[in-house]
Symmetry: C2
Subunit: 214 residues, 2 copies
């Protein structure tokens, strides 16, 4: 479908003869895949990430179908790199992975068969990206501040969690639920680099342990 | 994707344990598949047939991409059954099969990789049908004459070929090229049952061998 930039997070085997055989002429894409130990490394330089998920989630994650998601990804790609994240065949993405996403991507299926296999999900989404890319209007160039990258957001969330723990606002035994809601909030806002710097500055200024922290 | 009506034309093996295993919960659809010896039996009651083809063809077949094709199929499905026809994994559909189609269906791909495998092609087209079905406006009911079925069209083409051969208009050593062009013409017109009856009546009336044929 014309996409070339593949990252593999903790693959069981790489390279693998089966994968090479199935590449069917796209061996170069497989051979040049970025292989990383954790998801954050794969998406560090991305400004927008969509995570494929068949399951309905308990929390109010934004949810898009492929066509809407393709438009959003292509719009965001004007500001920087974007990614579509797919989970392992059997288990799909975990919540800790979806926490890194700006939106969930859900492919509509027959209600009796809610989960597509991995290859099919990738095929549909890459198809939508190809078709949508061919129909998107040329953007009006704007002198905009670049969006914060995933790595910058992660640093911000770490900073936020540290400060909220220090303040006693976060339950140190179970910080996750609240952090997840805060992630959703900021992910929807899509902060740019300047805004993240401002937020980091605010956190530093409000940190109860200020002056006591290394 | 919610489609249930599967026909298999001359399958190498049926049933087959691999196919059953891969059905992943859709064993009932596979088990109730219609298995036939030739394509005409599979599409006999269809009023519109789209044939998937990766190759550009020498003759001017109408060609649609999946989204446009899904709209067309759903519109035509108000008049009767419709079908999407996929060829064997290795060889694809032959021209004699595409002759039975109202349109070719071509899935856009990277120019370097023009042929998807069968499962991927089926996945994309069934996905488009599902998504498009969810967005089509409710039709205004019209009291229309039903379209001619594929079987009725085949009888017409046989009749036409017989009459044109008798007239000397068709080269009996190579009737195919002209018949193909005529098929394209009539397929674009999408004749209804009344119109096919009229055409058949015209052929009978013009048959040089009239009165001499059994």
């Amino acid at each position: 479908m014309g996409l070339r930039d593949l990252a593999l997070v903790e693959p069981w085997y790489f390279p693998h003869a089966d994968a090479t055989a199935r590449a069917s002429g796209a061996e170069d894409i497989l051979a040049s895949a970025q292989v990383v130990d954790n998801l954050d490394d794969a998406i560090a330089d991305c400004v927008y990430v969509a995570g494929a998920s068949a399951r309905a989630r308990s929390i109010d994650w934004p949810m898009m179908e492929p066509r809407e998601c393709a438009v959003k990804l292509l719009e965001e790609s004007r500001a920087g790199k974007v990614a579509v994240l797919f989970g392992p065949e059997k288990s799909g993405l975990k919540n800790e992975h979806l926490d890194r996403c700006n939106t969930l991507l859900t492919i509509p299926t027959d209600p009796g068969f809610s989960s597509l296999n991995l290859a099919m999900a990738v095929q549909i989404m890459t198809y939508e990206l190809r078709v949508t890319a061919g129909t998107m209007p040329t953007p009006v160039t704007e002198a905009k501040v670049p969006l914060a990258s995933a790595a910058e957001l992660e640093h911000f969330y770490e900073h936020l969690e540290t400060v909220l723990s220090a303040s006693g606002f976060l339950d140190p035994d179970n910080p996750r639920h609240l952090m997840r809601r805060l992630r959703r909030l900021f992910a929807r806002a899509e902060p740019d680099k300047n805004e993240i710097n401002i937020l980091r500055g605010i956190l530093t200024s409000l940190d109860p342990a200020r002056g006591h922290r290394d």
